[in-house]
């Protein structure tokens, strides 16, 4: 039985999609998948709570990477969900038996190989199941350096966990690849689409204005609820750096996509934009560093400074996307 070619990625969904396309004969990098799906975003959503704190998203909702790539290059997926866990496990075993590795959606909390501190209740974690080894499944989870083993009981629990974004055993593989891909059309289209999303002119909490909005929230929190300031800052940094490769991480993935696109289309403008987006990502990290120092008391708490840093980020991203809109 040939093992699925594992490749570590920065993010689970883009990694799974890139690895599955590559395995089925369409070599594709993780950044290219992420870029083609137009999934970069910023959104500060106070009405959606995560453990009592607002949801801060740096990329589009789970599922959008797969859908976005499908829209951009026309690959067809065979995807199914299951009502019964038994049927879902049998279907997966049958596929693996036939030598077909499958992508699945799981609840990351229940995966036994995930380190304790990385486990939380997030039910849209994607990975590939390569084949069976005895009673265990060999799993290509793109967040990890190597493949991992998962026992059948944990696998069933992770695939059929209930709650928000319940996976319902969701399982997929590539059905047909596109005949040929017109990158000269698909790439600029995907970039313009993403530029539009980031501009989000009528939604103050999304895109560049969302970044400035978050700066305002930090100021307001200090004024009105000073005891909640540190938890809020900790939460922002955590959402930015940890959860699913975080905000800065996504900026760097997109920058890598722009660079690859620049080479593919011989377009110097994209290479310049790539550099500028790397700078924006570095500003995000500078913000995280300052916020953390202030929380730990290694630097005087200064919300005006944090607000200013976020505005620098917003300025940089505005400049990048203004150029990309006209690609």
């Amino acid at each position: 039985m040939s093992a699925f070619p594992h490749r570590q990625s920065a993010h689970c969904e883009s990694g799974v999609v890139a690895n599955m396309l590559t395995a089925s004969g369409l070599p594709m990098s993780e950044p290219m998948v992420f870029g083609l799906s137009s999934s970069l975003i910023f959104a500060y959503l106070p009405m959606v709570k995560m453990a009592g704190l607002p949801l801060i998203a740096y990329r589009m909702v789970p599922g959008s990477i797969m859908r976005g790539v499908t829209r951009a290059i026309g690959v067809k997926w065979n995807a199914q969900t299951f009502k019964s866990a038994e049927a879902g496990m049998q279907a997966m075993d049958a596929a693996l038996e036939a030598g077909q590795p499958v992508g699945i959606q799981t609840g990351i909390y229940w995966l036994p190989y995930v380190p304790e501190d990385m486990r939380f209740h997030f039910n849209a974690h994607n990975l590939v199941v390569s084949h069976k080894q005895g009673d265990d499944y060999v799993v290509s989870d793109p967040l990890f350096e190597e493949t991992n083993l998962c026992d059948a009981a944990s696998m069933k629990k992770a695939r059929f966990v209930k709650g928000v974004m319940a996976p319902k055993g969701r399982m997929y593989h590539v059905e047909t690849l596109p005949e040929d891909i017109d990158y000269a059309r698909a790439i600029p289209e995907a970039i313009r689409r993403n530029a539009k999303l980031m501009k989000a002119p009528f939604v103050p909490m999304v895109g560049m204005s969302g970044i400035r909005f978050m700066g305002g929230v930090i100021r307001k929190t200090e004024r009105n609820k000073p005891d909640q300031l540190k938890p809020l800052l900790g939460h922002i940094v955590r959402m930015q750096e940890e959860i699913g490769t975080g905000g800065a991480g996504f900026r760097f993935i997109y920058a890598a996509f722009l660079k690859e696109a620049a080479q593919k289309l011989s377009d110097e403008r994209l290479a310049v934009a790539s550099k500028e987006l790397v700078d924006a990502g570095d500003e995000w990290r500078r913000f995280a560093l300052s916020a953390t120092k202030m929380c730990r008391g290694r630097k005087a708490m200064d919300v005006a400074e944090l607000d200013r840093l976020l505005n620098v980020v917003a300025d940089r991203e505005t400049a990048v996307w203004a150029k990309l809109r006209r690609i």
Binding site: Q8, S9, A10, E30, P31, K49, A51, G52, Y109, W110, P112, P115, E116, D117, M118, R119, F120, H121, L143, F144, E145, S154, K157, V161, K162, G163, V164, P231, G234, H235, V237, R238, E241, E242, T245, G246, G249, F252, I253, A255, A256, K259, A271, S274, K275, V278, G281, D282, R285, A288, L289, T292, C295, R296
Partner: protein
Amino acid sequence: MKKDEVPQDNSRTYGGHKKLLYATNEDGGLEGVQSSGWEVETYATVSAVEALEAQRDAALARGRAGITSPLEYHMFAKRMDMATLTSATGYGAWRVKRHLKPHIFNKLTDAKLKPYCEAMDILPEELRRLPVQEPGESPEVPAESKA
């Protein structure tokens, strides 16, 4: 971020693993580089985990004092909160809150506890009791039935 600036802070939260991120290389391109962690991220993760553990320990103390049912302790021990638990069990928030009262929780049948047991992957008898060990210096949590 340049390739040689990728943080390698050996974060304990990574459990010995490395994550991948993209950084600028010598030729001005970007490539995947492994990172063993960044202190800033570790601090945020550890703070969040500590906050959850504090909630769990407080629930344990209240449970021992008979003010709250063991359900609250097990909820936090499984890193869940009210929203996670209600969506995973299908019980409404008012109902879960009711089940946090010891005199009501103690009368619940196995059938009523089943959604909780499924969501947390524990047995009814485990759900009904609190960990035996005294909360002393070692914050060992025996309730993690599955590693």
